[in-house]
């Protein structure tokens, strides 16, 4: 099941490449990520002075790339990757802010002060689809159903 493969990879990997876009130009950024237990959402944080923050404000369509290169850098056929696509929204201080921040800090305790800084924005991503890639060519797709 793709679900199990995705669950294992997001458990092993702490970081992802966030893909954003603006005026037709794609942009990639490395982010520290936490994925919810049900794999339906992810959370990350960014300083508000960054390009990715501006792009996220202008367009909420994002992709996240997570891979196992750090584990299998020699044998390319062993590398796994997932691309998660979805919609990002900034989490404003309020009901779910603490829950989202806790999810991220539990995964990355060293980011506690970064997450609570007034110049840091917290983003929640509703994941719509996962693409799981093995052997660079073998791709399986898992679309999450929204109830």
């Amino acid at each position: 099941m793709v679900r199990n493969l995705v669950a294992r990879l997001v458990r092993e990997q702490h970081y992802a490449v966030l893909c954003t876009q603006g005026e037709g130009q794609p942009y990639g950024s490395l982010v520290a990520l936490a994925v919810s237990d049900d794999l339906r959402s992810a959370v990350f944080a960014t300083p508000i002075t960054t390009r990715k923050y501006r792009l996220l404000c202008d367009c909420d369509h994002v992709a996240l790339v997570i891979d196992s290169r750090s584990h299998s850098s020699v044998d390319m056929m062993q590398i796994e990757a997932i691309t998660a696509t979805g919609r990002a929204r900034q989490v404003s201080p309020g009901a779910d802010y603490e829950q989202e921040a806790n999810l991220l800090v539990a995964r990355h305790p060293q980011l506690k002060l970064f997450v609570v800084s007034p110049t840091t924005a917290l983003f929640h991503v509703d994941i719509i689809r996962y693409f799981h890639v093995t052997r660079f060519q073998e791709v399986r797709q898992w679309t999450l159903t929204r109830g």
Binding site: P47, I48, T49, T50, Y53, Q110, P118, T119
Partner: protein
Amino acid sequence: MDSDPWVISLDAASCDDQRIGGKAAQLARLRRAGFRIAPGFCVTVAAYEQFLRDTQLQLVVQMELGRKPFGELRWEELWDTALRIRNRFSVANVPLAVAQSICRAVRLLGTHTPVAVRSSAPGEDSAQRSFAGLHESFLHVVGEEAVLESVRLVWASLWSDAALLYRQELALDPLTSRMAVLIQEMRTEDRSGVAFGRDPRTDENDRAVIEAVPGPCSGLVDGSVDPDHWLMSRATRQVVSFRSGRRENDEQAAPLLQQSDLESLLVVVDQVESRLGWCPDVEWTGRANRLTVLQARPITRARQDPNDKRPWYLTLRPNKQRLRQLGQRVAEQLIPELRELGDRLAAEDVESLDDAQLADCIQTRQSLLEHWKRVYWDEFIPFAHGVRYLGMYYNDAVHPQDPYDFVGLLRGEDMLASQRNQLLRALAQQVQESAALQRALQQAVHEPEPANDFKWDAWASQLPALAGGRQFLTNFQTLLRQFMDVAFGGLRLSDKPTTLLRNILELASQMRPPVAHAASEDEEAIRSLEQRLLDAVGAARHAEAREVLRLARLSWQLRDDDNLLVARLESQLLRALQAAGNRLKAVGTLNADAEVGTEAVAPIRAALREPAQTPLSLLAFKPANPRPTLRAPGEVPRQLVGQPAAHGLATGNVRVIRGPQDLGNFHAGEVLVCDAIQPMMTHLVPLAAAVVERRGGMLIHGAIIARELGIPCVNGVANVVDLLQDGEGVTVDGYLGIVTVGAAEFRLETG
């Protein structure tokens, strides 16, 4: 206890270096061999590893140490890093199983028994190198909670500033470095000291060195008590030489140890050497049959590198008794002497001296300046650590979330720089209130001639006729005389009145007034912090806490004043040199365009004494060339990272201040970029939208002033002066320590 993975008795058979560290393992061996060693136990390295696993503090250490290339961290930044790590360790919970084991072992020693809690890192001492004193020790600790607290701090001291300084030699690595903790009953005897089996200074095998102090050994180890010192022959047991320690209030002139005491110590040294197989350095307490070995380690063979500044830095580490002595000497003797000297030299009429007298005057001033620069390094800088002592003391007592809360206690001290800045603000206020004065100042600063040719006398003579002009002139002259007769970057600031007039105009016209703090609110905040400290230490330690506070405040105030007072002395040397230079130029003995700075003292003196000599030629004044930028073609820095030193977010254009020549170019609302804010330039900070410095540290001038004014500050940004350019738009995030270069592309709304 033997099967307990977290603590192990010193009597247990399985005491090995990797499990309980070198110090504890040696003592366990000696105890088993029948030496008198205080009973105790060791918290194993496994306990430290479990603590790290549970708290994930290794991630914090990794993040702190990875902030920037290690070689670029200045010692202030190392201290800050260590303070932050220490704070995180001190507020983290010890795993329950570990805490229970420690408490059980404490109860076995006796819950009311005072104990010593000391570091015991695997492989910390060897014949090649000793790392004594890099980690923390706590003495007279009583009770389970207090022991747990001390254990946390000893663990944290694996990452102390001193240990970080020797990071390479210690092979410090957040993933692999470990620390055990030794806990022993305190032994308080009437004599303590150290005994070296070989003279560590000469490596002579037959010469042993014994040092003794009255009371506990801590006074000797931290350098606060001067010991009696014997050089002994190990073969004949005879004293080769003796030097009595100089101790205040020490009525007892007789040596602290008798011949029989010295011989007993040599026997212990012999036995330790024979048992452990190396020539030892033994720390001991007590005499005759009460002689207890506190520690034994190999004598270090390595010769010190004379260029290694780290041992000097270690001598700066705060110690209350030394701070108290320094505080008294600095505040009551040195600063008044330096102030009086500056006043006296400033009042001297150097123009009326004949050539020989002027040459003598220059020589005297140079000697005085050199003397006071030595005093600055030897006594003023060490006393500056009073602020750091308060930081450790406050954090240990209060355990604040923010390890820099204590800085709030330093607010509002009456420094020379504050008095100067107040006078500058008063002058700006006068300019704001008088359109005529404004016009006069604008005319002065827009004069086409270089600042050096500004006709001050002619300009000043018109002021009394203007509204508010007479008062302005009086105040401005006071400013020049009292506060600006200082050297900065080899120039006298009082020689640059137009620079100051520009600053005053900017202050008067600033678009963004400085954040106003109501004095009563400030006082209330200080009182509240003080109360937190007093509540945390408890009534029995109120007097101690107040003294730590007093020393820190004095330290902070004088740390600023001493810079200005030494700069004032340098200004007096420059004044005499200028007088000499003008005289020599007038008679053609010196080239007319020569720049006469402090490096020209010798030739100028020689020329004054021997006017018949061949004419002197010195380099002409040349405006400093802008340094080459570190930007490669096509490369632009986008985000620079430093330390968040004062909270806030601001955008503005860069103004790089490299020296005195740049001071007059600073405009309100610009981002002040410099190597480090000097006391001679703090008056610019209220004009700035933000401050960015290459030099890092939470307690350096720029950081503290920016915090007081509510201006964002990012410091410790590597090469920033050579990476940013005047006029470039930047955004300074003082929360995260990020400087973003280029137009603001983000939304400032954070909600």
